[in-house]
Subunit: 338 residues, 4 copies
């Protein structure tokens, strides 16, 4: 922790800060510059907000942590990449894994048609929402438990493992019973009770980045799951909120190399939510793979113009098949299987 | 809903879109400009995402809703302001209501001292966190149930009603038993299961804006609570995320007149979280009242430099008392009681 | 400057960094933590980007400056507030100064009517654009030189000093000849050649914050003017760009107390551009004064619905007069004259 | 233009708005819904802000343009892509063009070494700043005219055409004399006098996106240049400002497919400024090409740790050569030459 004092801080104030640092179990090291005094507090400060509270002292200008606040999610703790195998599919290995399917499970016919077609095009995991987090209480909220059963049926039909969102702690068990991967949506990235519960559920977790979540906060959310005993966390960049309105969100592909540098966890990219418009999905899918992502998650609907949610960003099956061809070529160009 | 077609859309395409609009139960009105054809779909489209999915048609450029998507939260549905009375305190009336207390309940001594002092300075509601949403799993997570009991004790001692955060559906009942107002934190503003549960709990709800929540989305979150049968929602602006790092968040006071125009719900301002630094709290508290807010929520700690959370933004009791004096003067200048 | 090394940095690497720091004229101080080594480089590093370039070394994780990069604009260099007197009006003193007038000078009649009415309502400075920075090349670009002459005439008629924007170095002289205060618009806040030129022109400068300019960068832009020999810089917050679209920009009133803490320069608030909508101007004007601003700049047009630019955010004269009454009351509540 | 009236607007108000629309030369079409009346104003409204000013009427809720405000930059006006040839290099054609070189021209030795090495690795254009827009007045401001001469010398030595920034109208002629492509930097993207001047200079222009410039505004800035008679505009995405601080800016690759859809102009990507850190440049360069960019602009310095500006984001020549190899593979995977 680096504590910068205000200019003109008196010797007694410097001494007082050092005393407080020592009392908290850290070793203070004082550097007196010509204009500012800086105190380094040596020790493991992660999660220790008491040090940060020194900023409320009149003589202190800023308190800045040096260590990354996450541990288990960090490359420093674990150098080799985390590789997760689920339903015969390996995520975080050499192969680019594509998860695809409709935004919402709307009916048996819709889901089975979508599942068959994304499988045929090369998707390795089926996505589909049974519980839908909808901005409006008047919007379609998903088929809920019935949707879970349809997903399980689609898995039996196609052999594809299933990823689906869970939105509340009480539903973790039933979702875990029917799905292979539990998805935490962007709006729940800091729903800490839910993170702890999925950490205990024993199934891999796909953790989407929130629309205003910094990469550091995102890794701390992963840390909640890891610290609950579940090492199988897959990160998923899905767009952040910026001033730009030409896209629904701003898919932040920079997060891919940043996460690869800071963490050993696999990272996927969701160009459907990230752009919000089907015409941009293919370009950003290819870019995501080129940036180093371990996989993609893409919305595919047999008839997007009739979708009950997210139609504008859903691909028709034939467009998805074309995308898969292009993604494979980019994957090979970056030495990944596809 | 306004559907703008791409330039060069063929007559057959225009007809097809009109047919689809009619099939969904809306009346299409076509306006042919020199460069673009625009179709208005007349009908109540709120929560009807199927219309939005028309954007996935090749000939459609954009689909834009005309109606605000919320109903119960809207000024159009209810002209007169919502006034909420809780524990003898009236929120949304002529008086500016100040809620104050520590970020976290840390101990009996700390809480009772804070409660006595904020009451003496004029606060009408006691705030204090028992369950704390912490970015890091290694940070202090609150005293939990023990914290609730201390809050109830502080209420008995001071007579101040209590507001405290609830973070998961399963805890709504126990929190509602001990607290007078249930707070939904910024990170849970789109935790829809939780919103529904607090909507059913029968106690007033303080709904904080999320750090990336648009005002429209925020009102839709309020709509979840209202639609669950609870009319007593208090909005609270607490800062949004922007590029500026001189403050922890950017307290968006513009939200105050915007909400007052769009909704009948009372709105409060949290300058402590909004700025993240005690030196800015007083100025932004006064500005919030001048902007038309119905109240303030302010963090006060007997010894901020020892706080287990949010010390940098907590006021010492004597600073809070000085702030209250100034807030009263501004309140009177905008014809509010204080 | 604080240089944080990557974990596992070898002793030879630490020595190499220290050697480089010494060679650049700074004194290195090494703090060895259990997980990280941190090196403080003592010396005046402002404007010395060479130190920052150490971040490109493999063993370095981050390089962070300690000193604020501006000097002349800083409270540390000058404690007492800067007070600027122009045309008999004092900015930065006890009185709240309101500048008002139309967005663009459109005609003699429009300008003189606006000038007379804003003066009658209590404005102390007349604003009006002769050169207009318009996003579209097809939009009205201002009356240019003819507009300057009309502004000078309005000054003669009303006695109000005039503030108007200058957009390019070659026009600084002619604008300075006709106007009392030179305005640098948000889009030119980092037009450094223009900043230097207005720094040399000898007239007070109203420096608007850019829509994506951090407060630190803004003060550095002020520093360009100050370093060119012109001490009379007035800052003006006018809204930053965020994800929120309910307002045109997000007026960042937090900038007021932050600037007051960091700098001695006066700061004004522009609620017209900041919100982009006339219905929000009054509330944010009052809030700006309550936050501690030294003045306001407000767009007033005799017939906003016919304005050639920014009609939606312009007030009718009678609304402006009502606003002035309210602003005066808030000003007195914060011990300012009005 | 779509004008949405407030709910409860009286018939007389609807008539008044229609009359005003007609008086401005547009044809009004009224759609009366159950809750709202909407008026379409048919006609070419681009650049006609008077229509927008109707929003200041009490009965009007919003005024929204339908047409894109730019014309010459639009795909609707020109379907086929713009291809620009300069110094034997074709931009916007099948080949990915890489521009590379140091951030600032610092010395003859530095520039010639950088130029030779980027050429050897496959760069087709040499970049280097002679006039530098620096946030701080105390930072290195560039070698200015001397830098231009060195760039011209480097061109003679290597045969590479040169791109360099011009910051003020008075310097356009001298820069155009020495350089092949005039760069408009992010901070000048809305410096409209400068845009007009480079529009008249007759040399291709590389127009960087501003850090808070929407894609629509960016295309309008291009429109200024196109409307001044210069069809040779190359757009360059270089990162926008968001809340994320793990990267210096957020390189917005979404802009690539969006621009390709809306405009015929070529677009390049600058991963050096976009990320601000050399470790992320390679990944984002590959992603940019995969997203469909026509080229890259990359900072390369013989000794980044001694750079006078932007060292942290500069690549060593050998890293750049490795990047070029990878970029070539991705380019081929998306059917581009490299």
């Amino acid at each position: 922790m680096i504590i910068v004092l205000k200019s003109g801080a008196a010797d007694a104030e410097v001494d007082d800060v050092c005393r407080r640092i020592t009392a908290m179990g850290y070793a203070p090291h004082t550097i007196r510059g010509t204009l500012r005094t800086v105190i380094g507090a040596v020790g493991d400060d992660r999660g220790k907000d008491a040090l940060l509270s020194l900023e409320s002292l009149e003589c202190v200008e800023t308190v800045t942590p040096i260590l990354k606040p996450y541990k288990l999610a960090s490359r420093e703790v674990r150098q080799e990449p985390t590789v997760i195998t689920v339903g015969g599919v390996t995520i975080g290995g050499p192969a680019i894994v594509v998860m695809a399917g409709p935004c919402s499970v709307e009916s048996r016919v819709q889901l089975l048609e979508a599942a068959a077609k994304v499988k045929a095009a090369g998707a390795r995991v089926l996505r589909g929402g049974a519980f839908k987090p909808r901005t409006s209480p008047y919007a379609f909220q998903g088929l809920e438990d019935e949707g879970l059963k349809l997903l399980a049926e689609a898995r039996r039909e196609t052999g594809l493992p299933v990823v689906t969102e869970v939105m509340e702690p009480d539903k973790v068990d039933v979702v875990a019973e029917h799905a292979d991967i539990l998805q935490i949506g962007a709006r729940n990235v800091q729903n800490f009770s839910l993170l702890r519960r999925v950490g205990e559920a024993g199934k891999p977790v796909l953790l989407k980045r929130g629309m205003a979540t910094s990469i550091q906060e995102w890794l701390l959310s992963a840390e909640y799951i890891l610290a609950s005993g579940n090492p199988n966390v897959i990160l998923c960049e899905r767009g952040i909120r910026t001033f730009e309105t030409a896209t629904r969100y701003t898919l932040d592909l920079n997060a891919v190399p940043v996460v690869k540098r800071l963490s050993h966890l696999p990272i996927m990219v969701d160009p459907s939510h990230g752009t919000g418009h089907w015409e941009y999905v293919e370009a950003m899918a290819m870019a995501g793979v080129a940036a180093g992502a371990d996989g993609l998650i893409i919305e595919v609907h047999p008839r997007p113009e009739e979708a009950l949610s997210d139609g504008p960003q859903s691909l028709k099956p034939e467009r998805f098949a074309a995308l898969m061809e292009k993604v494979r070529r980019v994957a090979r160009a970056v030495d990944r299987d596809a």
